[in-house]
Amino acid sequence: MGAALSWTVPVFIQQTCMVMHAQALDSAVQGGTGRDHPILVVIQLAGGNDGLNTIIPFEDDLYFKARPTIGIPKNQVIPLEKGIGLHPSLGSVKALYESGNLAIIQGVGYPNPNRSHFRSTEIWQTASDANQILTKGWLGRYFDNCCRGEDPTVGVVLGEQLPEAFNANIPTGVAIGRPGNLGFDRTSDPSEAHLFSELNGLEPDATSGDSIGSLSGPNNSGLSALEYLQRTALDAQVSAERIRQMLRSSKNEVSYPRNQLGNSLGLIARLIAGGLPTRVYYASQGGYDTHAGQTNTHQRLLSEFSAALFAFCNDLKRKGIFDRVVVMTFSEFGRRVTENANGGTDHGTAAPLFVCGGGVNPGLYGKQPALDKLDSGDLFYGIDFRSVYSTILLNWMKAPAGKILGREFPKLSFV
């Protein structure tokens, strides 16, 4: 029985170097230097953002009929075009639109919509059909297909936990809750620190220089649980060191609003500028579940969102890296067309989303869903959200979208 448990120092570094060579032949794998590859920033508006009060059909009487108290008065709407306007808190978003950096995709949803936060979020995160349960996320599948062997920071989440969208066969991604909390606690006892490094397979020079990326195993599916743990420990140590280094070396060029989303986007800008080899950043803003007293809450949320996004874009522009970044927002669903008795709105279906960045083809995409043709009180979707994912994957990330999403979806042209 003793032989069953050969707990010795890892052989995995040797092993992963061998796998590396095999991986180099796989053309789907995208190597990132941190300086030139395209970057996607996903912003989750959690709780179900009210799409109809975000992008407003302000010349449609049915809108005001359905929303006598929470409808945005015509004279306050920021007009865009063709009877479509923005919520008054989205002045900065209008500025991005005018400077040609913003696309608005209207009526995004999916067939047989689910109105549970939990389930609909899961559908968006895994890019599944409404009646299909997938356990891997759409970004996780992108990592599996295209980023094997890359630095663990290929996916970075601003928050304590990785979102379901990051679930992958080969767990990838780093969550930054509080930057001060990154990496392993150091002990003051040098012999303890030494043994800790040894038992965790952390080589003393693993955190220096460009060897970092190459130390990460490209494909751990052949690794034992022990080897996989050792690889992850090394990844954790290396990425924490890297992120600290990036944060030391770069600053924000503009000031950000002091809220959670502002802080997150400010950090992301510094990490991009610092050259972290990240392809996908993920940030979120919560509170959109406006069942009651929606007017004030929604106004505050959209102001925060608008100011944070505007600061982020300006920061990237000043840093000269705006062209490398595309930001996409999403929310698990829109809200019902008709306001409820509590000055709020209940869970609905299709809603617009924003795509923003230096490389975006600006404009309005898709149609504002009709208010005179509803699906038992809810909007019909016009664009499947997976068309948006597909467009971003294919046109922006240069990734095999059909393979990642399980099938082909009509492509759009916003990027």
Partner: protein, 484 residues
């Protein structure tokens, strides 16, 4: 036919492996006792042990929400309604974290740990989340259903689950009407709970959905059958036509050999390892059928099989977060923290009991570990030894409504004197031996132990608490400690 473990291979490490997989591990004396019993009696002592009576959690009152529900019904203005909703929500969150601590405490203290381990397995199998159920009473009730039926007959367990109010909300049976049967439960019962994808047709789903109509929840939050809502017409399910009801559908599912394969393989994966050898799966499935889907005798077969003690099984599993914490509390003199700390720790590690991420349950295996969860495990391990400081592990300051906005107190550090005697402190190898067995749940004959002996070799004697705690923390912040 599964071959039993050869008697000469039944040693301390085999007994330790059994205890940690069938339960949550134990102290050296407990492992020793199990070893001395011999395999058959050791397995029986775990599988047949009767649970003590256990006080239910605070949420165990089916009418606990009634007063607030009545207030909600009587609320006139939107503001009144909103404030009642807020209270309901707070109550729900409080009761859920209390329920989590209640179950963890039970797992830690029970004299029938196997029953709790099996309940945990079924919870991941019939995965139901409080996120949608929104009622702690119902979540507790389901937990009891799993405990009461989890070692009996699989068909009966599935029938009991089909009538469980939490499951009925989770998979929408409560909304299923004769005119519009909801397919959610019918689909998952086959795809995830019994047969696996591709072993039934879409038409089987539609027909089975008709059989699960008329399931309702009464005022006492119990199952109620509403005959007027039941579709009593003819249904053709898996090729057989009759006016089937839900229980008959379950019987027809269970009569499929594929059901035994599916469940036996899943049980083997949870308790032993993921079997890839079709012969092994065939053998397990045939054992399960031989015992007519009775879970208790089947589990005895599982724990007797030589494969259960083979190289593929030993130290091959990454501990689930529940195993990580419960095992630590069961094997070491460490106090359980308050419920908010416990729930936070589970969340950071990616497994909050009563909140599986989807109806598929937890993926398990490598998916427990990413850079964030591993970093947190290391932080938590050190804190378990040194005392959990809620601020240090990152617990957000509670809102004023929870416990007056006060962070829970730091828990006491590992009580070194309870495991290390004064004379041990003069003998570093004794300290390594004692900590090693507790922490790694195996004898210290493995090479790994020599590293720790070397580590203590030049320390001044007697060894101080801080040195001993440092060693314990070091052992627990390794890849090896994540395995079981």
């Amino acid at each position: 036919m599964l071959a039993p473990l050869a008697l000469n291979r039944w040693d301390f490490d085999a007994a330790a492996h059994l205890l940690v997989r069938a339960g949550f591990g134990g102290r050296a004396e407990e492992i020793e006792k199990l070893h001395a019993l011999g395999p058959a009696k050791a397995i029986s002592s775990l599988v047949d042990s009767q649970p003590e009576s256990y006080a239910p959690p605070a949420c165990a009152d089916p009418h606990g929400q009634d007063e607030l529900r009545n207030q909600l019904r009587d609320a006139v203005t939107p503001e009144q309604k909103q404030s009642v909703l807020k209270l309901l929500n707070e109550r729900f969150r409080y009761e859920m974290s209390d329920l989590t601590r209640w179950w963890v405490t039970r797992m830690v203290n029970t004299r029938a740990p196997f029953l709790e381990k099996m309940t945990l397995f079924w919870h991941g199998h019939f995965a139901t989340s409080g996120q949608k159920v929104r009622h702690a009473y119902k979540m507790w009730h389901q937990n009891e259903i799993l405990r009461q039926n989890g070692l009996a007959n699989f068909a009966n367990l599935t029938k009991a689950i089909s009538r469980d109010p939490a499951m009925m909300i989770w998979l929408d049976t409560v909304q299923s009407k004769k005119e519009r049967p909801n397919e959610n439960f019918a689909r998952e019962v086959m795809e995830l709970f019994s047969l696996g994808e591709g072993c039934y047709s879409e038409s089987d789903v539609k027909e089975a959905a008709r059989a699960w109509t008329g399931y309702r929840i009464d005022k006492d939050n119990q199952f109620r059958f509403a005959p007027a809502q039941f579709d009593s017409g003819l249904k053709t399910f898996l090729g057989e036509t009759g006016s089937w009801n839900g229980d008959q559908i379950v019987d027809m599912i269970v009569s499929q050999p594929q059901c035994a394969r599916f469940i036996a393989a899943k049980i083997w994966k949870f308790f032993a390892y993921e079997a890839t050898d079709p012969k092994l799966i065939d053998a397990l499935a045939s054992e399960f059928r031989n015992v007519q889907y009775e879970i208790r005798p089947f589990m005895k077969q599982v724990f007797s099989a030589q494969e259960f003690y083979g190289t593929e099984a030993l130290n091959s599993q990454i501990k689930s977060p529940v195993q990580f914490l419960v095992q630590a509390f069961r094997t070491m003199p460490i106090a359980l923290p308050e419920s908010s700390v416990l729930e936070f720790a589970f969340r950071q590690m990616g497994q909050v009991p009563f909140y599986p991420p989807s109806v598929k349950g937890w993926d398990g295996g490598n998916s427990w570990i990413n850079t964030a969860t591993l970093t947190f495990r290391y932080k938590l391990a050190r804190q378990l030894v040194e005392g959990i400081d809620p601020q240090e592990i990152g617990l957000p300051k509670p809102l004023a409504m929870d416990m007056g906005g006060i962070r829970p107190a730091t828990t006491p550090a590992l009580l070194v004197d309870q495991i290390i005697t004064a004379s041990d402190r003069q003998q570093p190898q004794n300290v390594v031996e004692k900590l090693f067995v507790r922490i790694f749940q195996c004898s210290s004959k493995f090479e790994l132990a020599t590293r720790f002996r070397e580590f203590l070799s030049n320390r001044s004697l007697p060894l101080e608490d801080s040195t001993i705690r440092g060693l314990a923390a070091l052992m627990m912040t390794t890849p090896y400690y994540q395995l079981t």
